[in-house]
C-alpha cells in the first residue's frame, strides 16, 4: 500500500488578500493544507493572540455568555501585531450571525456553539494544525416533521434553519420505502442560514410511500425531516446510560515560555462540552494554564475526544442535563490539584497533574476529567417517525386528526422522560 507524508505549516497565502478583502473562516483551511514551511518558534504576537482566543473559547462554553460581547471583546483584545486575518475572521462571523427570531427559529445557543467552533478552527489554523472544511449544520426545521396532508396544501413551505449552508451545494432528496428521488429543484436558499423547500402546488409530489425528506451535501444526508402519515409507525426510542466514572484526559501543548507553569498564582481553567450527531457522542475538552508573570510559560489547547457510539441503525437525538462543565481556579503550591465539578454537568471531578513549582525543566501538565453519568436518547433510524419529531410537529403545527388518532396511542410505549424533551436548538416559544 502506498503511504506519502507531507508537512504543512503557516497559512502564508491567506495574508495576500488581507489588504482589500476579508477572509472567511473557511479560507484558512485551504492554506493550512497547501502552504509548506517550517514552524518558527512561537512569537509573542501569536502567543498573545492565542491567549485571547483561548479566553474567548472558554467564555463561549458558558451557556449564559453573550457571544456577541465575547467576540467583540476578543477583537478589542487582540494585540496590534495580530495577523489582520484573525480579526477579520471574527468580524465576518459577527456580520453573518443571524439573530434568533421569526426569520431564524433556533436558540442563541446554536449561534454561540457555532461561534465557539469558528474560534477553535481559527486557533487550529494559527497553530498550523489540521483544519477540516467548514461543515454546515442544521438547528431546526419548521415544521419539524411534515404532515403528509398539510404539506400538500397550496403555498406550503418547509423552512430549514442552520448555518454556513453557502459553504456547500445543498440538495434535497425525497426518501421512500425503497428508494429516493432528487427534489432539489424545489429548494431555495434564502440565506446562508435559511433554506426553504417549496412543498405546495405539487412542487414536491409526496405519496403514501414517502418516508422523509433528506437534506444532503457532500453526497451524504445530514438532516432528515420525517413525513407523517396515518400509516406511519413511531420509531422505538430509548434512554441509554453511560455510567459515571468514565475519564477523559488531555495534555495541552506549550504555546510560550520555556519554564514550567507551576508557580503559585498560575491560573488554570478547563472545560468539557459534549456534542452528538448521527450515532456518535464526543467531547471537546480544553485546558489552559498560564504563569502570572509576563513572558512565562503558557500551556493551552483543545482536543476532541471520542466517547461513544450507539447501534449503527440508531441516531442520538437528545441528551439529558447540561452539556458543558467548566472549572477555573488559581493554583497554589501542590503538584496535583483536584476540583469538583457540578452534579448536573458532564464532569464530576477535575484532576490537574504535572505541576512542579521548583523545577526549571519543561514537562507535560495534564488534565483528567472524571465524568458524571451521561443519559442519551437514541432513536431507531428506519422508515419511521421519531417520537420527539412527532411531538414537536404537534406542538408547533397542525397535524391531521386522522394521523393523530393513529399515532397518539403509539406514544404510550415511549419512555415518559423522552416525551418531555424538545429538539436541542428549538426556540422556547414556537
Amino acid at each position: 500500500m502506498a503511504c506519502g507524508g507531507s508537512r504543512t505549516t503557516a497559512p502564508g497565502s491567506t495574508a495576500i488578500l488581507v489588504a482589500f478583502c476579508l477572509i472567511a473562516l473557511a479560507t484558512s483551511d485551504i492554506a493550512a493544507f497547501s502552504a509548506a514551511q517550517s514552524e518558527t518558534p512561537p512569537d509573542k504576537a501569536l502567543t498573545d493572540t492565542l491567549k485571547v482566543l483561548d479566553n474567548a473559547i472558554h467564555l463561549l462554553g458558558d451557556s449564559s455568555s453573550n457571544y456577541r460581547k465575547v467576540l467583540l471583546d476578543a477583537i478589542a483584545a487582540f494585540p496590534s501585531s495580530t495577523d489582520d486575518t484573525v480579526g477579520a475572521d471574527v468580524r465576518t462571523f459577527l456580520a453573518r450571525a443571524p439573530e434568533p427570531g421569526g426569520e431564524f427559529r433556533c436558540t442563541v445557543d446554536f449561534v454561540r456553539a457555532r461561534a465557539r467552533k469558528a474560534l477553535l478552527r481559527l486557533r487550529d489554523t494559527l497553530r498550523k494544525d489540521y483544519v477540516s472544511p467548514v461543515e454546515p449544520a442544521v438547528c431546526y426545521a419548521a415544521p419539524f416533521a411534515l404532515d403528509w396532508t398539510q404539506a400538500q396544501n397550496t403555498g406550503g413551505w418547509l423552512d430549514i434553519y442552520g448555518y454556513d449552508f453557502d459553504r456547500v451545494s445543498p440538495e434535497m432528496v425525497l426518501v421512500s420505502r425503497e428508494s429516493y428521488r432528487d427534489v432539489t429543484a424545489a429548494l431555495v436558499a434564502r440565506s446562508h442560514y435559511h433554506l426553504a423547500l417549496k412543498l405546495g402546488d405539487r412542487a414536491v409530489r409526496l405519496s403514501s410511500d414517502s418516508v422523509s425528506l433528506g437534506l444532503t451535501w457532500g453526497h451524504l444526508i445530514h438532516h432528515s425531516i420525517s413525513i407523517i402519515q396515518p400509516t406511519s409507525r413511531l420509531c422505538s426510542a430509548r434512554v441509554e446510560t453511560i455510567p459515571a466514572g468514565r475519564t477523559i484526559s488531555y495534555s495541552p501543548p506549550r504555546i510560550s515560555g520555556d519554564r514550567f507553569p507551576g508557580r503559585p498564582g498560575t491560573t488554570v481553567r478547563a472545560d468539557a462540552t459534549l456534542d452528538y450527531s448521527s450515532n456518535k457522542l464526543e467531547a471537546t475538552i480544553c485546558m489552559a494554564a498560564a504563569d502570572p508573570a509576563e513572558h512565562e510559560a503558557v500551556f493551552s489547547g483543545c482536543a476532541v475526544e471520542f466517547l461513544y457510539t450507539t447501534d449503527p441503525d440508531r441516531v442520538i437525538e437528545a441528551a439529558f442535563g447540561e452539556l458543558t462543565s467548566q472549572v477555573s481556579y488559581v493554583h497554589s503550591n501542590r503538584t496535583r490539584d483536584v476540583q469538583n465539578g457540578r452534579p448536573y454537568g458532564p464532569v464530576r471531578q477535575w484532576a490537574f497533574n504535572g505541576f512542579r513549582p521548583s523545577s526549571l525543566e519543561g514537562g507535560d501538565i495534564s488534565m483528567t476529567a472524571r465524568l458524571n453519568e451521561i443519559r442519551l436518547v437514541s432513536t431507531e433510524d428506519e422508515a419511521c417517525v421519531s417520537p420527539l419529531a412527532y411531538l414537536e410537529a404537534k406542538r408547533t403545527t397542525v397535524v391531521d386528526p386522522v394521523t393523530r388518532q393513529s399515532l397518539d396511542p403509539q406514544l404510550k410505549k415511549i419512555d415518559p422522560a423522552i416525551l418531555k424533551l424538545r429538539p436541542r436548538f428549538a426556540s422556547p416559544t414556537p
Partner: protein, 295 residues
C-alpha cells in the same frame, strides 16, 4: 424586503448577481424634489471560500415628487464565480443637498448562487471524519496503520448489485518541533457483490473478521527518521463509490482504523493472516465511527 432609515427619506437597494460574474444594482427611493442624489452601497461576496467586500456609488435625480429609480447593470463581481457564490448586504447611504443619511439596507435578490459547471466524477465521493475513535495516538515510522469500512442497504428491498469502493485514510499529525502534516493510507479498490434484498453489513458485520479491514500501510517518517508523529485529530476516511447496476437505494456507511503498535500491542498488519496476533480482539479490534447515510 427593504429598509428605511430613521430619517424621513427612503432608499431601497437590491443587488442581483449572476454566474457570469456580473451584478446589477437597483436603487429606488424618495428624497427632496428635483435634486441630485448620490447612492453609496456596499455588500460582501463569498466566492470559492474567499470573502470580497464590494463598494460602489452612483448619482441620479429625483422627480417633482422626490422619487428616484436607477438601475445599473453589467458591473463586475469579484471572485471566480466558479462554485458557490453568496452575497449579503453591508449597507447603503443617501446623499443629497449636502446631507448624508445612513442605515439603509442592501438586499441581494438571490443570496446564494450555485455556479459549478464541473461534471460529477465517476461514482461519488464522500468522507467521514476526522473521527478519533482510537484516541490520541503516538505513531512511529513503520507502524502498520490498518483501515476498514462496512456498509449496509437501508431498505430490504433492492436489486442485486456490485458496489465498488475506492478509499483512503488520512491521518494528520504534529511533530515534536511543532511542524504539522498528514499522511495517507491507500485502502485500494474493492468490489462487493450484494445479493438482492440483502440487509447485512458488507463485507462483514463481524468486527473481528479479517474482511472488516480493507487495507493497511506503514506510516512514513513524517517527522523525520525515528521521530514520533502525534495524532490527536483521528482519521478521515474518504471513499469514492459506485453501484453496478445502480439500485437507487440508500446505503449506511462507517469506518474504522487501528495502529496496534501505538496501542502497545505490537506492530501488526491486521490483514496478515499468517500473524497470529491479528486474531486477538485487543490487537486488531477497533471502534466503528458514526454511521452516515449516502443517497
Amino acid at each position: 424586503m427593504s429598509a428605511t432609515s430613521s430619517m424621513a427619506h427612503t432608499l431601497n437597494v437590491t443587488v442581483t448577481a449572476t454566474c457570469a460574474c456580473e451584478y446589477t444594482v437597483t436603487a429606488t427611493g424618495n428624497s427632496d424634489a428635483n435634486t441630485s442624489v448620490t447612492v453609496n452601497y456596499g455588500f460582501t461576496v463569498i466566492s470559492n471560500g474567499i470573502t470580497y467586500p464590494v463598494n460602489g456609488h452612483f448619482q441620479t435625480s429625483t422627480d417633482a415628487n422626490g422619487d428616484f429609480s436607477e438601475t445599473i447593470a453589467g458591473l463586475p463581481l469579484p471572485g471566480s464565480c466558479a462554485d458557490i457564490v453568496s452575497l449579503w448586504g453591508t449597507g447603503a447611504s443617501l446623499t443629497f443637498n449636502g446631507i448624508t443619511e445612513y442605515g439603509f439596507a442592501v438586499v441581494p435578490s438571490s443570496p446564494i448562487l450555485f455556479c459549478s459547471t464541473t461534471p460529477p466524477p465517476p461514482g461519488k465521493t464522500f468522507d467521514i471524519g476526522p473521527s478519533s475513535m482510537e484516541g490520541h495516538l503516538l505513531i512511529r515510522p513503520g507502524d502498520w496503520v490498518n483501515g476498514g469500512y462496512s456498509f449496509v442497504f437501508v431498505s430490504g428491498s433492492h436489486a442485486a448489485t456490485t458496489v465498488t469502493v475506492s478509499s483512503k485514510l488520512t491521518l494528520p499529525f504534529r511533530c515534536a518541533d511543532g511542524t504539522t502534516g498528514q499522511f495517507v493510507i491507500n485502502l485500494g479498490t474493492h468490489d462487493y457483490d450484494v445479493p438482492a434484498n440483502n440487509k447485512s453489513w458488507q463485507p462483514t458485520g463481524d468486527a473481528n473478521s479479517v474482511l472488516s479491514w480493507a487495507g493497511a500501510g506503514q506510516a512514513p517518517a513524517g517527522c523525520g527518521p525515528g521521530n514520533i508523529m502525534d495524532n490527536s485529530k483521528g482519521a478521515i476516511w474518504e471513499a469514492t463509490i459506485s453501484q453496478n447496476p445502480d439500485t437507487g437505494s440508500l446505503l449506511n456507511w462507517r469506518f474504522k482504523y487501528r495502529d496496534p503498535n501505538a496501542k502497545g500491542k505490537g506492530n501488526v498488519n491486521c490483514l496478515d493472516l499468517s500473524d497470529p496476533r491479528r486474531n486477538k480482539a485487543d490487537v486488531c479490534g477497533a471502534s466503528w465511527s458514526e454511521t452516515v447515510k449516502d443517497p
